[in-house]
Symmetry: C2
Subunit: 206 residues, 2 copies
Amino acid sequence: MAEAEFWYEFASSYSYPAAMRVEALAADRCVTLAWRPFLLGPLFAGQGWRDSPFNLFPAKGRYMWRDIERICSALGLPLKRPEPFPQNSLLAARVALALDDALRPAFSRAVYRVEFGEGRPIDAPATLGALLTEIAVPPEPLLARAVEDSNKAALKAQTARAIALGLPGAPCLTTADGEVFWGNDRLEQGLDWACAHESAVERERG
Amino acid sequence: MAEAEFWYEFASSYSYPAAMRVEALAADRCVTLAWRPFLLGPLFAGQGWRDSPFNLFPAKGRYMWRDIERICSALGLPLKRPEPFPQNSLLAARVALALDDALRPAFSRAVYRVEFGEGRPIDAPATLGALLTEIAVPPEPLLARAVEDSNKAALKAQTARAIALGLPGAPCLTTADGEVFWGNDRLEQGLDWACAHESAVERERG
């Protein structure tokens, strides 16, 4: 079974269609995915940015919103721009990380649906609690666990690993042999790579 | 016949595979292409950049070079990184613009082959003159025409139009109904759009 890691940031617009697409694409190729929420803020800060590049560079921002419209339209995904953009995604990322691996994809898709499908804020504990209830997770204990020091540290470590892997943004796929594929439009290529190079990785490990 | 404009910058790494691919993709879809060389410098200056974003933001740069390696490998295109990057592309753009429309694609592909396929500089009149000779254009009169004020002004005007159209970078495809598709990886999507929306544009014109 080939493996790949799916790196996403809840504030990232292109992570929305990617999160909605990636599980089916991976299943088609027999790739097992590990969902890796992380924060773009520290990565952007390392490039000197204190805001989303889509706000800092208006031509990129205008293009991105039109591009996302076309992408969501083609996929039949609802799109409503959240205000402000980017949303504060810190608590959502902590909650996602605190969840069991098996529950993380459904919760993450629910966050994106609220944020980019319905244009609603994602920073309130009540909002995230309602999404946990949707996936049959009691919200209070999980929300409490999400803000424990150990979980905060785990998110910092995951973000540091994203930077160490050389991720230039979100979403990304990374493969066991160290490749990085950046963008919703590279999911297929990244998963195909994971399949094609699986045996080589296995040989090296063996 | 559907139409699209192909916008490219000789210094742009992703414009290399795009220039090598776009003509065949357009022919497959019965799209007529207009090749539009322009300069990214003024566009980047508007975003506060005095260098390529791939140099200004190292994580993006490292990713881009690996990504380009994978792309060229999959296409069977040679790749040798030119030093320095980006190359000074001003004269090449002026020469390309001064050529007849029918000769511009072959000349442009030849420039990319030298620059990214062989890793050679593209700023010398002798280099560009040899490429003109390859396509059976007497080099001296064309090189002289390239640096006439009228041609310099035409390149400035073309670059201003690229900015006015909202191009966020290069390469791009633009369609008659005002859509912009950015990136080597969006050529198919842009050309498909040009085909699908041609009749709508024709109706509006009629």
